[in-house]
């Protein structure tokens, strides 16, 4: 396996360089074992195309999203102000992130606190790279596979991004199949609003089971998503339904990286 090239902002700064885009990895992407694979897959794409990017590395900190959604506005703004100081000190103009929660927070909630950046989701960046002819994708292993896309709430309803992920799946020569509830009507995976970090309240079903069952109904080969938390919830759901042999859960970045044999 080839070494990943992951320059940090501190390194670039020391050599007097500025990246075109900052890759905001996020907490899940940094620490969650499954999500780290998404991070690596995305970096492989960036390296493959030769995108001039950097990460904050150990200078990155939680955006504060789970704190804010849980109701801890104070902690959120403390995190936000701290991050904005770092980002502004490095004169960051453009940010890409693999996490819709980081994406939403950085894009919509940071400007009022003094952090103004162009923020895009990794599905949008990959789509741009393809459109600009910098990245070619051939279906490869995914040709003809049945793939469904689970819309992350903070990408879809939260920020009206429905098409970029789907266009990527179509680029794989795969058959894009939609669940009964999709796009603006997509059902949440159950992790948002800081639910990821606590037991669900009392009910008669887990939300991720409800969503997984809906996905399994259309018998896909792959459930694709674009959020590390949706990834956890859907992977757990598929495991609980004992379908992990037949149905795989992948992030968009992983699909593109695998298709290109990266």
């Amino acid at each position: 396996m080839s070494e990943l090239k992951v320059p940090t902002m501190a390194e670039l700064m020391a050599s007097g360089q500025q990246p075109d885009v900052l890759f905001w990895v996020g907490c899940a992407g940094s620490f969650d074992d499954r999500a780290k694979k998404i991070t690596r897959a995305f970096v492989k794409i960036l390296n493959h195309v030769g995108v001039n990017f950097a990460v904050l590395g150990t200078e990155e900190s939680c955006t504060g999203d789970p704190a804010k959604r849980a109701g801890n506005e104070f902690l959120f703004q403390m995190q936000a102000m701290g991050n904005i100081q770092v980002l502004n000190a490095y004169e960051i103009k453009k940010i890409v992130t693999t996490c819709p929660h980081c994406f939403n927070t950085l894009k919509n909630e940071y400007p009022e606190l003094g952090g103004n950046y162009e923020v895009i989701h990794h599905s949008e960046l990959i789509q741009q790279l393809i459109n600009d002819g910098k990245l070619t994708v051939e279906g490869g292993v995914f040709k003809g596979k049945k793939i469904t896309f689970h819309d992350p709430c903070y990408l879809g309803r939260g920020n009206n991004i429905y098409e970029a992920p789907r266009e990527l799946i179509e680029k794989l020569d795969a058959e894009l199949v939609e669940m009964k509830r999709c796009k603006s009507k997509g059902l949440c995976c159950g992790a948002g609003g800081a639910q990821m970090f606590k037991e669900a309240e009392k009910g008669n079903k887990e939300v991720n089971i409800e969503r997984t069952e809906e996905a399994l109904e259309i018998e896909p080969d792959i459930i694709a998503t674009g959020c590390p938390f949706c990834m956890t919830m859907m992977t757990d759901g598929v495991k609980l339904k004992e379908k992990e042999q037949d149905v795989k859960v992948f992030d968009l970045a992983e699909l593109i990286a695998k298709a290109n044999d990266l």
Binding site: T58, G71, Y154, G203
Partner: protein, 438 residues
């Protein structure tokens, strides 16, 4: 002459009562905190035209949506007929607009078709609610008053439309018999079918039936007008301003609390004097988040009065559909019911009255609040652009920031974020370790 006086008294009385009730509702809405929604006016007007007037979000569910448009269009257009009825009532004339000739007959014919369509649609709505028992109309918050309210509205509309059609039928028969005072305008298409019913009825009885239905129809309308402020049916008025003042920022965006921002900025300001005496507080000390309705913004309160209890929000809510206690519709209804209660307290005991109750806990439980995934399915589904999520978040803010009341797991998450910059207990120094793993 006497009937004209009775009519005018009723008209004035109904209008006065209605104005008074509307004033109370406006006063209650203004109990909310300030919020500036005066920006992007042209965008707001087109949104209002699309969502409120055009009912674009209603037709997402086509059956209910199309039937609703029929009732709505019927309701609005038939009100032109009510104008004639009111003028007839004041002047004591009959069919004041009849001199319009064929235009008049054409108009009344259209009204009759609309009345029939409204009647049939309302009947279908009743069947959906009570026979098909569509699930979202039978959640736990939809018992007692909310349930009767919905049925009462539908039955009233059916009765009003029925009265209008039968009145015209009796009127036609009176014309046929050449009764005095009944202007010759001919037979109308829908009521014409019912004229035969009255073939054996005497002129005297017919006049009683016709006048009886006329009074029933107009008194029914006055009564319905005054029923609105007590009913979910008030949405026919509030839907317009409510959509106009919608949140226009991306759904994912939550507001940054200004009061918190001030504190945090001070903490980050290297020039701030750490020993400075705190500024004299102006007015009442502000709460972080919302405990009661007065802590919410006027828009959130307007949302609650606009809610029509259709339950589309709860029907798509991931928490509600998996059996959790949370129902976004209940959040809206509770907010409205609590606000009404606070308003009544003020009417009775003055503006500073405190009944010791609050929206949090007396109406909405922590369990409900904690079940929300903030997925925005509810706000997407709401046909009048209500934002139950913002109320949930504001109540959560109070729980966390004023009462430090969080589930143990969340407390751990907060500590981790504060100490090591991630919700989990990993060292910030390890943040780039993924680079060398496979």
């Amino acid at each position: 002459m006497i009937s004209s006086i009775v009519f005018v008294v009723l008209l004035l009385g109904a209008s006065f009562l209605f104005a008074k009730n509307v004033k109370t509702i406006i006063r209650n809405i203004k109990l909310g905190k300030d919020l500036d929604r005066s920006d992007r006016k042209s965008e707001r007007f087109s949104l209002m035209a699309k969502v409120a007037l055009g009912q674009s979000k209603m037709v997402v569910r086509p059956v209910a949506g199309l039937l609703h448009i029929v009732v709505y269009v019927g309701f609005i257009i038939i009100n032109i007929e009510v104008l004639e009825i009111v003028l007839d009532g004041i002047t004591g004339k009959h069919r004041l607009f009849a001199p319009l000739g064929s235009l008049y007959v054409g108009l009344i014919s259209i009204f009759e078709f609309l009345a029939l369509a409204v009647l049939v649609s309302c009947a279908i709505f009743l069947i959906r609610r009570n026979v098909l028992r569509i699930k979202r109309f039978h959640h736990k918050e939809m018992t007692s008053w909310p349930k009767s309210d919905a049925n009462l509205i539908l039955i009233t509309e059916i009765l009003l439309m029925g009265a209008f059609l039968l009145m015209n039928a009796a009127d036609t028969q009176l014309q046929n018999l050449g009764a005095e005072h009944y202007t010759q305008v001919g037979t109308f298409p829908v009521s014409g079918v019912f004229v035969k019913m009255f073939s054996a009825t005497s002129v005297g009885t017919l006049v009683i039936i016709e006048r009886g239905l006329w009074w029933f129809h107009i008194i029914g309308i006055f009564a319905f007008l005054n029923y609105l402020p007590y009913s979910k049916h008030f949405h026919i008025l509030l839907a317009f301003p409510n959509v106009f003042y919608s949140k226009l920022t991306p759904k994912g965006e939550l507001d940054n609390m200004a009061a918190v921002k001030k504190e945090v900025e001070l903490m980050f300001d290297p020039n701030a004097d750490p020993y400075a005496a705190p500024a004299e507080p102006v007015g009442e000390p502000q709460r972080f988040g919302a405990k009661d309705v007065k802590d919410l913004t006027w828009k959130q309160l307007m949302d609650s009065y606009t809610c029509t209890e259709c339950g589309r929000c709860s029907d798509v809510c991931p928490a509600n559909t998996t059996g959790k206690a949370l129902s976004p519709r209940k959040i809206m209804m509770d907010t409205r019911d609590r606000l009404t209660e606070v308003g009544k307290g003020i009417d009775k005991n003055g503006p500073d009255y405190d009944d010791g109750k609050s929206l949090l806990r007396d109406y909405i439980t922590e369990e409900e609040l904690l079940a929300c995934t903030s997925c925005n399915a509810c706000t997407e589904a709401c046909p009048v652009n209500n934002d139950p999520l913002s109320v949930i978040v504001d109540l959560r803010r109070y729980l966390i920031m004023e009462e430090s009341k969080a589930p143990a797991e969340w407390t751990g998450v907060f500590t981790n974020i504060e100490n090591n910059g991630a919700p989990w207990q990993f060292a910030q120094a390890d943040r780039l370790n993924w680079k060398n793993e496979e």
